[in-house]
Amino acid sequence: MTTIRRFCCDDLLRFASVNLDHLTETFNMSFYMTYLARWPDYFHSAVNPAGRVMGYIMGKVEGQGESWHGHVTAVSVASEFRRQKLAKKLMNLLEEISDKMDKAYFVDLFVRASNMPAIRMYEKLGYVVYRRVLRYYSGEEDGLDMRKALSQDVEKKSIIPLKRPITPDELEYD
């Protein structure tokens, strides 16, 4: 019932029902288009039979050596299509691409420390809180850096939680 395909520019004009959600950020155009230009395999939308955008995921792959990893920049599903594990399908796709195509060591994401529903969902998908990033969101709210190890990271070293929180300027990638 769902067709998951590469996100295309025209989807930007059809994703209002996803992005009008108060927790979904509408980025500027260069942000979306940079992702499309650089990491087209990490930007997918799910559409229903009538062609409506049900949700989408955008991400990238970056890092060096053992920190070569997939990153989930945004994942969002329109309210009508929630509670049917669509976000899980999109996350699994990104994980598969990071793992099999790009041979990344882990996938990570940032989430507002107060966004408990999202944190619970990521935990169910196998993500663990790797570290807390102090005042990551607009210098106000802490972010949680959550990670899931991929098959390259045999010993799961990438997800051993850091003992202390870090500040945004200590982040390796932004």
């Binding site: 087209p40 009538a50 669509l86």
Partner: protein, 993 residues
């Protein structure tokens, strides 16, 4: 930007890198210095020149940049072809794109030179690109050059040669190579490439299989294609597109899938692929045997994917039954059964009804009733559980989607609305423990209840229902403030009710920004444009234009980014997307709106208006925007899915039309779909064209008329031929945009102003007619011959026409006995348009004439305007001023009458909610108030807290306040116009006496 050969455009990379670093960090002066040093060493290097051009352009020196880049281009041509390299070309490309000299704006500079590709030069160039490993260039060259399909064999040959020596190393390159083969219908060759070593470039097996399936289907190898699609479905059972291809191949149909990316507004019932809605050409036996095998395959998928998240194979079942019906193999009964089976399993999901909407439309009324009865019998509606709630919602949604509610009586509808609200309340405990940010269970119930109340209002015209439609949504937002669906409906309801400030307030909370400005602002922009809130409107238009302009500027750089990262498919997509946005109807109109809004805001100061017009190239560019070619290809990018059912597009509002009791549900549906699919139809195009003419017409009316009045006398009455000629052309276009030739339009204006033609017959365009009359008067003033028979440039006749038409039109609105507060869809927007549009333009003409005729010492040239006043003109102006004063005063009086004391207005509205206990509005608002009062004891928790301060009366009070604010704002506009007219009147008296 580093070259793979260690050389950048033939120059060692270490010398180039610091220049790029300086450019990237915006240190342009330093970059220029370094580049000058580089040029000293490599004076003939096209790359060094290209770099210099790029820096100059960034420094804001476009002319110098252009000259240097043309020099670089010349050198490229004069050099040996093997000096063509990626870096030089792409650097030049950036400069040209930014200079907007590039025909398409985003692709290779040299690709533009189509002559270079037509013959041997083209081959040579293509060969050169290939030798340098620029697969991307080859492909883009084919895609964009005017040679089109003729160049495909050449591109294929070049790529083949490249592959034999270098192979391909990127999935994107492979995909585009296959696309070149596909475009030439060389499916077997493409399949061969895909199954060879290069096929492994496609990282995901499913992607490769999908591509194989597509190629096989196009090659009419349906059996092989269906087997491939089976494989896809085995690993991705929910992949609906692949399933449709699978069935299409089995039935040997050409599958044309719905295209979500085209931006066309499809209606659910129309979006099914046309190929899949036809009878197969195969024999009945063959169809049956293939569908039977499909069914058993789908059943095996269902068994191996028992999770409730995979619905594809279950809906596939329905599709197979649909195909059986279409091919006359089985009856509709099987389809109903398949749907029922689906609802039993997935009916609790929010999207379950809309996902099978297309199939529901195939059922007869009896079958639908049977289906609904079966579903409602399958659960205990009185129990409180997420599943029960989901099924209850689905039951209502099916009825809503099929338009079944239109057939219900008023009492039944009222009962349903009440049940929906009650169900919402009863199920609140389910959401009490949810995070406040999470969607609550049953949110849709309030939207559906509100929709029913709007329908009741439409049918009965009882304002109470409309107020209740608002109250229900406000109640929902009091509990959880994030539900955007409620907010959008409220934006439209408040707009319709005349409480625009409340609509605007909710709109602002939606945080519409960036690309959403293009797809979502239609919810408020059209209403704001007809409102007295000129500043809010100007702010919104300004934000929108800034977003679009910024994006169009940066789009070339973003395309280069895709190009640099060898994401070839996105290069093409970005170019097409830029083109789509550039041709946006909303963008085109907003450019005119922006200038018109400024003119309206400053209409009391001729000097400020002149300065606005000067900055807008005196309106000439806007006129150019609306030429026929650009209007032919406009795009409509609004997301109309999110609009309420009763206003499917910004130009349609069912509530303004009479309710037709005889209409069937399907008639309503078709009507809505028709509106959506015709979003870009004539009226909208014509309105856009008309707007684009206004600034220029205002300019000519104020500039050239004054010029004539000032110079006319000294030239012994010879009129301004050029201005009059241009005005005539523009007015011909203007008349066309209202649907008439200029002669017919003139006679209609005359007829209306003399009372021989009824203004109401021209109702929808009345503001345009008024502006037309104003411009006709201005044209008459500067024309050498009378434009209307019986009037000439010294005759006051054309002034009379304007005065009379304005008076009749305004009076027509004021004599309408309905009060604003109790008569939604009121005439305020129309009155505002009349006052801020045509009356403003007319006052500008008056100001301009006054300035032209005033004996001002400083402006007097040698032999300048006569000291003797042009008495007939002055008298005509004075008469016009007096009549405008009268007209505006009547508006003022009417507005003051509308301003009831707040308590009195509040009582009036609250009275609308006091129906009897069994019928009429009042029941729902009472339910809401009672539930809010009891929620603390029955439910408690945060929901109870959020409803602590709920009161229907408080919402109604806010509506009263917002209407008052609207009237006050409009009064301010009238005040300022009256003030101007009084001062003009005083000057005229002194000039005449």
């Amino acid at each position: 930007m580093a070259s793979k050969f260690g050389l950048a455009g033939g120059i060692p990379e270490r010398r180039v890198r610091p220049i790029w670093d300086a450019v990237d960090s915006r240190q342009y002066k330093a970059a220029l210095k370094l580049c000058t040093a580089l040029l000293a060493k490599h004076p003939t290097s096209p790359y060094a020149l290209a770099l210099k051009a790029l820096i100059l352009e960034r420094m804001g020196k476009p002319d110098e940049a252009l000259s240097v880049s043309l020099d670089a281009k010349e050198r490229l041509y004069s050099d040996n072809i093997f000096h063509f390299d990626d870096l030089t070309l792409s650097t030049l490309q950036i400069v040209f794109q930014r200079l907007e000299r590039c025909m398409f704006g985003t692709f290779h500079l040299l690709l533009l030179n189509t002559n270079a590709f037509a013959g041997t030069d083209g081959c040579k160039y293509g060969y050169g690109l290939m030798v340098l490993g620029m697969i991307d260039n080859v492909v883009l060259w084919v895609h964009f050059s005017s040679g089109g399909k003729k160049l495909l064999p050449l591109a294929e040959a070049l790529l083949k040669k490249h592959i034999s020596s270098h192979s391909l190393h990127e999935p994107e390159a492979l995909a585009l190579y296959i696309s070149i083969l596909e475009q030439q219908s060389k499916y077997d060759a493409a399949l061969e490439v895909l199954s060879g070593d290069m096929g492994s470039l496609l990282g995901r097996e499913e992607d490769k299989l999908r591509l194989q399936g597509r190629l096989l289907a196009q090659a009419s190898s349906y059996v092989a294609a269906s087997e491939i699609y089976q494989k896809v479905l085995e690993s991705c059972p929910d992949d609906w597109e692949s399933f449709l291809h699978y069935i299409g191949c089995l039935l040997e149909h050409d599958v044309i899938l719905p295209k979500p990316c085209t931006g066309e507004h499809a209606c659910p019932s129309n979006s099914v692929d046309s190929g899949m809605s036809k009878k197969s050409s195969l024999s009945e036996e063959l169809v049956e045997s293939r569908l039977t095998s499909a069914l058993s395959f789908v059943q095996s998928l269902q068994e191996s994917n028992s999770s409730d998240c995979v619905r594809g194979p279950h809906i596939a079942n329905i599709e197979i039954e649909k195909q059986r019906c279409l091919n006359g193999i089985s009856n509709d009964r099987k389809l109903t059964e398949a749907l029922l089976k689906y609802f039993r399993r997935f009916g609790h999901l929010s999207c379950s009804a809309s996902d099978v909407e297309t199939y529901l439309h195939m059922l007869s009324g009896d079958e639908i009733n049977e289906l609904l009865a079966e579903i409602s019998g399958s659960f205990d509606a009185s129990s409180v559980s997420v599943n029960t709630l989901g099924l209850t919602i689905t039951l209502f949604k099916v009825q809503e989607l099929l338009g079944m509610l239109f057939t219900k009586s008023t009492a039944e509808l009222q009962g349903i609305a009440k049940r929906l609200v009650d169900t919402f309340y009863r199920n609140l405990p389910l959401s009490n423990d949810l995070d406040p940010q999470e969607n609550m269970f049953g949110e849709e119930l309030l939207s559906m209840a509100s929709n029913i109340l709007v329908q009741l209002y439409w049918r009965t015209r009882n304002l109470g229902y409309l107020l209740e439609a608002i109250l229900v949504l406000e109640y929902g937002l009091a509990i959880r403030k994030y539900v955007w669906q409620y907010k959008i409906n409220l934006v439209h309801l408040f707009s319709y009710l005349g409480a625009l400030p409340l609509a605007h307030k909710w709109y602002l909370t939606l945080d519409v920004k960036n690309i959403l400005l293009e797809s979502v602002s239609h919810h408020i922009l059209p209403q704001l444009l007809n409102s007295p809130f000129l500043q809010h409107t100007a702010d919104l238009v300004k934000d929108y234009l800034k977003f679009m302009d910024d994006h169009l500027k940066e789009s070339a750089d973003l395309t280069c980014l895709a190009y640099r990262h060898r994401t070839y498919s996105k290069v093409i997509e970005f170019v097409q997307f830029k083109d789509r946005l550039q041709r946006s109807m909303q963008y085109l109109t907003a450019k005119s709106d922006s200038v018109i809004l400024h003119l309206k805001q400053k209409a009391e100061s001729l000097e400020e208006v002149e300065s606005i017009l000067e900055n807008a190239s005196h309106g000439t560019r806007l006129v150019e925007l609306s030429n026929e070619d650009s209007m032919k290809h406009v795009t409509s990018n609004e997301d109309l899915e999110t609009r309420p059912w009763w206003t499917p597009t910004s130009t349609v509002n069912f509530l303004s039309e009479p309710f037709d009791e005889g209409s069937t549900p399907s008639i309503y549906r078709n009507k809505m779909c028709k509106h959506k699919s015709k979003e870009n139809d004539d009226p909208k195009l014509k309105a856009a064209e008309q707007k684009s003419l206004v600034p220029r017409l205002v300019y000519l009316s104020t500039h050239d008329c004054a010029y004539f009045l000032r110079e006319g006398e000294q030239n012994n009455g010879s009129c301004n031929v050029t201005a009059a000629g241009e005005m005539k052309t523009l007015l011909q276009k203007y008349a066309r945009s209202i649907g008439y030739s200029i002669d017919d339009a003139l006679s209609i204006v005359l007829g209306m102003s003399s009372g021989k033609k009824a203004v109401k017959d021209y109702g929808p365009d009345i503001v345009s007619w008024m502006s037309f009359a104003v411009f006709i008067n201005a044209w008459n003033l500067c024309s050498s011959e009378p434009v209307i028979s019986g009037t000439d440039c010294s005759s006051p006749g054309s002034w009379d026409i304007v005065d009379e038409l304005v008076k009749i039109c305004i009076e027509g609105q004021l004599t309408d006995g309905n009060r604003m507060l109790t008569s939604p869809g009121n005439n305020i927007p129309l009155l505002v348009q009349m006052v801020t549009g045509p009356i403003s333009w007319h006052l500008l003409v008056i100001q301009s004439c006054m300035r032209g005729m005033a004996p001002q010492g400083k402006k007097k040239k040698k032999g300048g305007p006569s000291e003797r006043p042009n008495t007939p003109q002055l008298q005509a102006i004075q008469s016009s001023v007096n009549r405008m004063v009268d007209t505006l005063r009547s508006v003022q009086t009417w507005l003051s009458d509308q301003m009831k004391p707040e308590e009195q207005a509040l009582d009036m509205l609250l009275l609308c909610l006091q129906g009897t206990s069994t019928e009429g509005p009042g029941l729902i608002s009472q339910t809401l108030d009672e539930s809010a009062a009891t929620v603390g004891s029955e439910i408690g928790g945060r929901i109870a807290q959020s409803l602590d301060s709920w009161s229907s009366a408080a919402v109604i009070r806010r509506i009263v306040g917002a209407e008052k604010e609207t009237i006050a704002e409009f009064k301010k506009i009238c005040d300022s116009k009256l003030k101007l007219l009084m001062s003009v009147s005083a000057s005229l008296s002194s000039m005449l006496h």
